[in-house]
């Protein structure tokens, strides 16, 4: 009897693991950035496994598209990544325009003025998107104040968007063949000058703020403790998971479609592509949460740079919309990708020559990035899961579509 007791106690000593607890994080959770549900297998605070479950925001964008004409699909793209809707509009329009190019009877060219307006507004939208990412990331880590600072500045941007297209969130501004004319802005008119002045005023206000935010959050030692060296996504891993945009550059891959496969008129502008580097004196490792976050902070500066160049050149004269007949692409298929704030946004469109597409597929950058979460989070702590979700900057509307 005594001996069995002894062996039992020995067995207990040899098994120091506690019971695992399965916890559902989400879909209603303050920091899963929407309706992501994570199934966590916890050993105390340590996460043994985090399995993401998606689909809570699935609205059948792709199926809907098969029953709509091409211009009618644009508002649906707004609802994909609602934080950077301009870029989603643009991505889709670019794909359709590319598809139309194959038409031998092609009779239109996107006007210069529209291209400038597109880049102006999309780069501002990129700033708005990264601001939101910065603010919510601060909140995920536990600092509430940066969130409100970010929203204060984002509010000014939303007002700018409202002035140009009448909407604050779902813009439907960029159309196939140009941009929307819903609020007329004659070339060289007072309206245009006023608008550009307001943009300039915002940039002058905002540019020093980036440094202020860097001082407040980026350089904060608690923040860097929480994010530096956490969830390192190596270069190979980032590429194999298909991570793009800031997540890819945060892993040290120097790749930006705006520079490497320039579409629209991006080749006319001078801007840098921030890429993460090891900073040993601070403790930042390429591919950690901090690097991904820092890339976004730096990209805001680059976007400011691009917009400043547009303001310096001024908007060219001419129409904002190409004269074109009904959008009826020829038979064929196209995959076109553009650099949205969250990465490469691709649209695959199959056309049978009718005004409605046969198939539309959106390639979501967030979806690819989210797929890396399971591997990134293994063996970390609950608090780190939140840090990862924030740093890969997902928008569930785009993941689920």
């Amino acid at each position: 009897m005594e001996s069995t007791q002894q062996t039992e106690s020995k067995i207990i000593e040899l098994k120091p693991f506690t019971d695992e607890m399965i916890v559902n994080m989400g879909p209603q959770h303050p920091s899963t950035h929407g309706v992501l549900r994570l199934e966590l297998r916890l050993d105390g605070e340590v996460v043994r496994e985090a399995i993401p479950h998606i689909g809570y925001l699935h609205r059948c964008f792709e199926k809907h598209s098969e029953n709509l004409s091409y211009p009618q699909i644009i508002p649906f793209t707004d609802r994909m990544d609602y934080v950077a809707a301009m870029n989603q509009n643009w991505g889709f329009c670019l794909a359709v325009e590319k598809l139309l190019e194959a038409d031998e009877k092609k009779d239109f060219e996107v006007p210069e003025r529209a291209e400038y307006l597109r880049i102006l507004i999309c780069e501002l939208n990129r700033i708005a998107s990264h601001l939101l990412s910065f603010g919510t990331y601060g909140m995920d880590i536990g600092a509430f104040t940066p969130f409100l600072y970010a929203f204060r500045d984002r509010e000014r941007l939303l007002l700018l968007f409202e002035k140009i297209c009448g909407a604050r969130l779902t813009y439907n501004y960029i159309r196939i063949g140009g941009v929307s004319e819903i609020i007329p802005m004659e070339p060289g008119s007072v309206d245009e000058q006023n608008y550009l002045d307001e943009v300039k005023e915002f940039l002058d206000y905002f540019e020093p703020k980036i440094d202020e935010y860097n001082d407040l959050l980026t350089a904060n030692s608690i923040f860097s403790e929480r994010t530096m060296g956490v969830a390192v996504m190596s270069e190979e891993m980032a590429i194999s998971y298909g991570a793009t945009g800031p997540n890819l550059r945060g892993s040290g891959v120097d790749w930006d479609l705006r520079r490497d496969e320039p579409y629209s008129i991006y080749d006319r502008f001078d801007f840098d592509v921030p890429v993460a580097k090891n900073i040993p004196e601070l403790g930042a490792v390429v591919g950690d949460c901090w690097s991904r976050y820092k890339i976004r902070m730096d990209e805001m500066k680059e976007s400011v740079k691009i917009v400043r160049q547009i303001l310096a050149e001024g908007l060219p004269d001419g129409p904002v919309m190409a004269e074109m007949k009904a959008v009826r692409p020829p038979k064929g298929e196209i995959y076109f990708r553009s650099e949205a704030p969250r990465g490469e946004l691709g649209f695959y469109i199959v056309s049978d020559g009718t005004p409605k597409p046969v198939r539309v597929k959106g390639r979501s950058p967030c979806f690819s990035a989210l797929s890396a979460l399971q591997e990134l989070s293994r063996g970390l702590m609950v608090a780190d899961i939140i840090a990862i979700i924030g740093s890969i900057d997902i928008v569930m509307g785009e993941v689920d579509r």
């Binding site: 303050p30 104040t145 001082d215 980026t218």
Partner: protein, 408 residues
């Protein structure tokens, strides 16, 4: 022991003119009605009266502090804060309170009902019991124990029981995680907290709160924080540990909103939730008040011989100052992770605290009585230390992450 206790339990008012007033009161009004009334327990009446004042006044404190917190946060964040209820939103907390009273009192059916009902009261009672030993002014102290600070430590440790009860009985995994975090945190940080209090106790050679304050009556330079370089360090350890004790940012892991929703009080609603909330703010004031009493001169003023209203305004202002610092930190700093929190406590605070105790012992040996010399040397060391720390920290601060060199 019983002799000491019976004396020590008498409120401080008892030792002065207050007792006579109370005994007179008993003789004139109560004796005719109850001839058997023990006259000597008049002091007990005073104690009860004091306690009554506290029970009435202290719950109002969170009411003010909640509003203050919201206004302070609003200032930090370019907002106005609550503005609708009452002038400048001053009645907002009251409105919130009324709302909470009328809310449904939900008890999770799968939970442990008894513990669930009990937990808020444990926390509430403990956080208010702490006020019994805090000397607000020369005369306002409910009970002047000779073991005052020991009592405070003991009572505030019981709070963790309430937290665990709340987390366990809710039958929610998030609550459980939160409460266990809280337990680990409070138990760990109690050690540096206790050790830094010990430095003060070693210098004053008393556990009584009024004696600790009494030893700081010679103006700002006799405040215990300046009396030796070690108490100076101890004050900061005490303050940071007490922030951890009351679960506020950057140590608010037990109720980390972005991680585990609301931690141990996730499942509570209505007035029970309000009790947690009130207790949190009462605690915040309590630890500030203890910090002021131990290190910043309590109700004694900056100049010696100051006793306007017995020092009450000075005491309250100093305590609110520390509360403000807590709010300031909360709305500026992000949150630590569990392992970092434990690192900070066990690897830094506890060794430093032991060093402090050793240092205080040596200091006490060298300067047997606090004279001008000891205080002068202490202030000089603190000054030099601060300058040195500033130079070192300044060098670190200059090493901000510069904008990363952009790519090719």
């Amino acid at each position: 022991m019983s002799e000491i206790l019976s004396e020590s339990f008498l409120p401080k008012i008892n030792l002065q003119e207050g007792t006579n007033w109370a005994i007179d009161f008993v003789k004139k009004t109560i004796l005719p009605i109850f001839p058997d009334f023990p006259v000597q327990s008049g002091s007990v009446l005073v104690m009860l009266a004091c306690a009554g004042i506290f029970v009435a006044v202290v719950p109002l404190l969170p009411l003010v502090l909640v509003l203050a917190e919201r206004k302070v946060a609003a200032r930090f964040q370019n907002r106005t804060g609550p503005m609708r209820v009452g002038p400048w939103g001053t009645l907002q907390t009251l409105a919130d309170g009324i709302k909470l009273i009328f809310k449904e009192d939900y008890i999770p059916p799968q939970g442990d009902k008894l513990l669930f009902l009990l937990a808020p009261y444990v926390i509430f009672a403990c956080s208010f019991a702490v006020f019994a030993a805090i000397p607000f002014s020369q005369k306002i102290i409910v009970s002047d124990f000779n073991i005052g600070i020991f009592y405070i430590m003991a009572i505030s440790s019981v709070i963790v029981m309430g937290v665990i009860m709340a987390g366990w009985s809710s039958n929610s995994k998030w609550s459980l995680l939160g409460s266990l975090r809280s337990a680990a945190q409070i138990v760990s940080y109690e050690i540096p907290l206790g050790l830094s209090i010990l430095t003060v106790v070693m210098l004053v050679q008393s556990l009584s709160m009024s004696e600790i304050v009494g030893s700081q009556d010679g103006g700002i330079f006799t405040w215990l924080i300046f009396r030796s370089p070690f108490t100076f360090i101890a004050f900061f350890i005490f303050f940071i540990s007490s922030i951890a004790e009351v679960n506020r940012t950057p140590f608010d892991l037990p109720e980390a909103e972005s991680e585990i929703v609301a931690g141990f009080h996730t499942e509570y609603s209505g007035m029970r939730f309000a009790l947690f909330f009130i207790a949190e703010y009462a605690n915040m004031f309590a630890v500030s008040a203890i910090g002021v009493t131990l290190f910043l001169g309590g109700y004694e003023g900056i100049l010696p011989g100051y006793d306007f209203l017995g020092g009450l305004p000075g005491f309250v202002i100093k305590s609110l100052g520390l509360v403000f610092v807590m709010m300031w930190l909360r709305w500026t700093l992000p949150r630590l992770r569990v392992d970092q929190l434990m690192n900070l406590c066990w690897k830094y605070f506890i060794p430093i605290s032991f060093f402090n105790i050793l240092g205080t012992g040596v200091w006490g040996l060298i300067f047997r009585n606090d004279d001008v010399w000891s205080i002068g040397i202490s202030c000089a060391i603190i000054y030099v230390g601060l300058i040195g720390a500033y130079t070192v920290a300044g060098r670190n601060l200059a090493r901000k992450p510069e904008p990363q060199p952009s790519s090719v």
